[in-house]
Amino acid sequence: MNDKAQKHILIVLRQPPYGSSLAREALDAVLATAVFEQKLTVLFTGDGVWQLPTAGDSGLIDRKSCAKAIAAFPLYDLKAVYIDSDALQQRNLATAELAVDGKLVNRADMQALLDQADTVLSF
């Protein structure tokens, strides 16, 4: 593997948490990527913002919590976390307590994130 240049990887998360397992699998991919010590950025947009609220208990449906996995991002030194503010607003989540201290971004910010990344994984 070429260690010279660090790559900037952006992972975009667009799935709601429990209706499909894809949201959980995407978070597994985020954590697996985080250990590679590259520049990793995560963006929650669309229905992906439903993964963020700390309210609720996924154990009631025998599922591992997406919010708890997201709350563990700092343990992986993953700090570049962005959240689509329009997506929160549209879903009435603008004042909800969220699992991670992410930076709110608008459409122009998100376009910039996509432009800056070397590689984008989209879930």
Binding site: M1, A32, F36, T119, L121, F123
Partner: protein
């Protein structure tokens, strides 16, 4: 250019796997390299050797295997997703004492690190969604 592919959709239920196959064929025909193809989420089902499509429909597992053999491609199926969906190689079938193994020819079971490594080694990573 070095491409890697991330495929998420279930074969036949979703268009994901076939679109990715067509893309891989086009990229290779265009002289590009396909460094790795990573099957995740429901796409791991492509590696089920028991898939038996109707005769008048494409045989996707075998088409992927043929392309892989022709171009020495690295077809990787995520182990966690595969186990959950009942796609096992001999080793996993033995480990979990399952009645059979069903991993199709041409595919290899491995971990998520292979996806990240593919992203780092490729010029472009293209995702074929669910």
């Amino acid at each position: 250019m070095k491409f890697s592919l991330l495929i998420l959709g279930a074969p036949y239920s979703s268009q994901s796997v076939q679109s990715a196959l067509r893309f891989a064929q086009a990229a290779l025909a265009g002289g590009h390299e396909v460094l790795r193809v990573f099957f995740y989420h429901d796409a791991v089902n492509i590696a089920n050797a028991l898939i038996t499509p109707p005769q008048d429909e494409p045989d996707l597992p075998r088409e992927w295997a043929a392309l892989a053999e022709q171009h020495d491609l690295d077809l990787v199926v995520c182990i966690a997703s595969a186990l959950k969906r009942g796609v096992l190689d001999e080793g996993e079938a033995k480990r979990y004492q399952r009645p059979a193994a069903n991993l199709a020819r041409g595919f290899e079971i491995s971990g998520l690190g292979q996806l990240t490594e593919a992203a780092l080694l490729s010029d472009r990573l293209v995702t074929f969604g669910p």
